[in-house]
Every structure is written in structure tokens, then in C-alpha cells.
Amino acid sequence: MTQTSWDSRILGNGAEPIYSVQQVSRRYGDLAALDNVTLDIAAGEWLSIVGPSGSGKSTLMNILGCMDSPTEGIVLLEGERLDKMGEPELANVRRMKIGLVFQQFHLVQHLTAVENVMLAQYYHSIPDEGEALAALERVGMADRATHLPRELSGGEQQRVCVARALINHPDVILADEPTGNLDEVNERIVIDFFHQLHDAGTTLIVVTHDAEVAAQGQRQIILEHGRIAREVFDLASTPTKGKPQNVEG
């Protein structure tokens, strides 16, 4: 568990990381799902998190997504300590700064595709059907906008989730196994889309089992038993087409 001096390679000099995870542990009784993890994530970075099942990937994502808090250690998001925030502030961070993509899609079953996208707008600011349709258009789902989730394939549902995650232009996209339930075609669509977001400066944090998906990131973190076992820099495979620009909304 070596803390490599990666920051100069990703961050450039003096830039503040979007996330700063400092000696974070998350324990369930005796079990440490995360064990003293320290990690900085640069704004605009594409970070892949890999590791065997049960290694703490989802636990880390939940903490980064402000849905869980560490039992030890602190997390800073854009310089602000998450542990100092109450539930309303954390909800505010989730709605303003974070876009989530889940392996299980998680759409509201009684709302149509476009309404599911508008839901994120609704909690964020003001629903705008035109904008929501444009987001679906971007993921190739415009013609299925009025379909209910159960009328969509898994890949289509996941594309709706991606549209929902990006509708509010979040600083960070957190994706836990976004392609885990997708066929190759849909996996490609989602990955291409992540590239577009990355190029636009969005920070991407992607948990995956898939080596090919992991290789899309600029950096891979390998978790084992709740610890960062290794880090791999994979800049070559992901030529960054644009400069990170999205620091602080």
C-alpha cells in the first residue's frame, strides 16, 4: 500500500483535488469494509476503481456519494468536510454536484424515461422537458422518451440513467458497475458517453469488474480487503482530448 506521488502527474502543480479522502475506514462491527484509505482525486480525472468482490468498492463509492459516512477519517469534497455536514447539506451536495449511475439502473417505475430524467431536475432546480429530451437524445433514447422503464431493455434503462446523471451538469459522476448488466453495444454507448463527459471536464469515478472499462480511466485503483493495494496509471490508453476545465461550478 504505497502512496504514490501521483498528484503532479494528474493534478498539475498546486491544483486542489475535487475529493480528498484522508485515512478513511468504514467498519461494520469487526469487519473493515474500508481500512485506512487515503486518496486524492483530481477535478476532471477519470478514475477507475477495481478489485475483487467484497473489497470495499461500493462502500467507497457510497462515501464519495455522500450516502454513507466513514467511521474514521475525513473526506473533503471541493475543500469542504463532508463529516461536518448534516443530512440536508449532504442532500444538497448530492443534488448539486453529483450524478449517480447504478448497476441496477434504479429508475422510478411509474415514470416515463423523460420523467425520470426530469426527476433529477425537479430535485435540483426546475424541470425542463425540452432539456430532458435533449439529454435523452444525446444517449440515443429520444424515441423512447415516453416509455416506462419496464418497456425498456436493460441497456436502454441504463442510458436513461446516464441521461439523468448528467442532466444537471454535475461536477462528478459516480458509476458503480455501470456496464455490469449491459451487452457490448450498450457498454460501448455508455463508455463513449463517459468519454464525452470526461472531455467536457466532468470528474468520473467508475467502479468496474471489466478490465476494458477500467482501462478507459486515467488511473486505476485496485482495492483489496478495504485497502488500496495498487494504483495503475493508464494515461496511454486514454488520450485526454480536452483539458480538465471543470473546477468548482
Partner: protein, 376 residues
Amino acid sequence: MNNHRKMYLRMITQSFWHRLSRVIIASLSVAVGAATLSGLGLVAYTVPAQMSNELRSYGANFVVVPEGSQPLSADQVAIADSIVGSSAQGRAPYQYTNLLYNMQGLTVMGTMLGDAHAVRPYWEIDGELPTAADEILVGENLAETYRFAVGKKVGLTEPTKAEGTAKQLTVSGILRTGGAEDDLVVMSLDTLSEFTGTAGEFSIIEYSISGDATTLSSLAEAVNSSDSGMDAEVVRRISQTQTGITQTLQTLIWIVSVIIILLTLISITATLNAVVSERSREIGLKKALGALSKEITREFIGESVLLGLLGGLVGAGAGIWIADFISQRAFAVQLNVNWWVVPLTMICSVIIAVVGSLLPVRRISKINPVDVLGGE
């Protein structure tokens, strides 16, 4: 802001219609509650009012009779009238005598026909009240015995002056009362005086007086102490005992209503508890998207309002039907339904539905997105 409102309505109505089976069950309990409440309410508040209208018919509640054996004179009637004064809603003097029909004695009641009908609104007349001086009413039993029919001529004579020819009178109507009048010939005082030759000799005056028992007995006291040869009596009519029945009925209905409200609340609480558990994944997802518990709570409450409106509407319809059924079957009263029963029932149902969801929605704040979204 307008868009926000629109999306809110869109979300809650979508959720409402996509969960129709659940919604129907939940709104059914609201509807049953609303039906019972509106039904009982209608019965409790309209039936007694209509019953007392009809019960007033069971005779006057105040009568004045002569103190001795001499009939009352017109002057005495005037004195009684002035004592009773404006509290009389109706008043009719009666004169009784016997006349002969084909050598058979018939009891004849002379009165001011219009006034008598007002004091005895339970009179049912097949035909018309007499308008001409040679027209009479005959009681139902009498008509049956002697085969009197509307339009038939009846020859009557005064027994003491029996030698003369009978006076021919026309039956203008058959009187059905279920009471003593069914055995009488009823005619106007003018018609009667042509037989008796005496105007203004009365055996009894009936009053229908508005007022409680104390008013009535003080009026009776006033007549009795006026030293005018009259005896006044308060007559218990059914509407007095009936206020007691009405009160018991209304108390009973209140108790039943409270029980029904409680049962409806319990049923809504149970249903919504299940709904919150069922939808915990959706709730967790919304929280993950940044929704506050209170925002999600607002959505659930909105759905409860829809539930209350729907249940209330259905319930009010059913309630009116039930009330109509009860009032006709049990009380033989025709129900007058006010239109505002429907919105009132809907408002009550909304209140009940919202109150019933207050406890279940508190569980929304305890739902943790990580717990409900994690499951593979």
C-alpha cells in the same frame, strides 16, 4: 416555479394511476368510511328535520274545551285566540253534531276546513277540499260503509227537524287519516249551520303552537285563569318525545362516526405503511438524487390528498344512496340531499387520508439509500 408545480402534479398522478390496485384498496377504505359518515350524517340531520315536519301532523299540541257542558261561543274563541296570540302556527275550532242519512245517525264535524287541514296536515284527501257550501268530505270508513264516492249526492237531515226534506250535498273528497275522522262527515261551519241554525257553538279548539313545554303550560295556565269558562290542555304530540329520539339518534351516530373515523385511519395507516415499505427503493433513489425527506413526504401527502378526493367522491355517492335507502326503509321519509354533502365528504376524506398518512410518512426519513439501493 410553475414547472416545478407541474412536475409535482405529474409525479403524484403518475404514481397514483400506476398503482391503481393499491390505490383502489386504499381509497376503498376511505370510500367506505366516507360513505358511512355521509350516510349517517344525512340520516342524522335531515331525517329528524323531515320527521318533525311530518310528526307535527300528529295533531295539535294545545286544545281548548268548554269548562262546563255548554259549547264555546265565538267570543270565547276570540278570547282564547288573543291569549295564545302569535305563537299559534295553526288553529281550528270544531263543532260536532249528529245528522241523519237514510234514518241512520252520522257524526258530523264542522270546522274551518282550510285551518283544520293546516292543524292536521296528515289528512289525505282523495278529491278536493270542499269549496262550495253544498260540498262535504266523508271519512274513509263511512265512504266504504255507505258507498259514498267523490261526486255522489248525500242527503242529510237534522234529527229534531226531521220532517223536512233532506238537504242534498255533494261529496268533494274522501278523507283518509287513520284516525277518528275516518268515521265522520266533515263540512264547513257555514254548511253545518244550515242544519243546526246555530252559528258559533264549538266543542273544541285545536292549536298548533311553536314553543317548548314551559311555553305551552304557561299558555294553558293563562287560559285557565282567565275565568272565561274555558279549559286549556297541553297535548303531548309525538314531536316532543321525538326530540328525545332525535338526540339519542344523533349521539349514537356521533359515536359510530368516531369509531368509523378511527377504523378508517387505522386502515389507511396500515396501507400506507405497506406502501412506504414497498416503495423504499424509490424513496432511496430519490434521496440519492438529492431529495430531502420532506420533499418525498410532500409527494406522499399529495398522493394521499388524491386518495382522499377519489375515496370521498365515491364514498359520498355511496353514502347518499345508503342514506336514501335507510331513510326510506327505516323511517319512511323522503331524503332531501344538499349538494354540499359531496364536497364536505371529500374534504373530510382528504383530512382523514392525510392524517392517516402522517405516521407512515415519518418512516421516509429513516430510509437510507445505501440500504435499499445496494441489493443486487
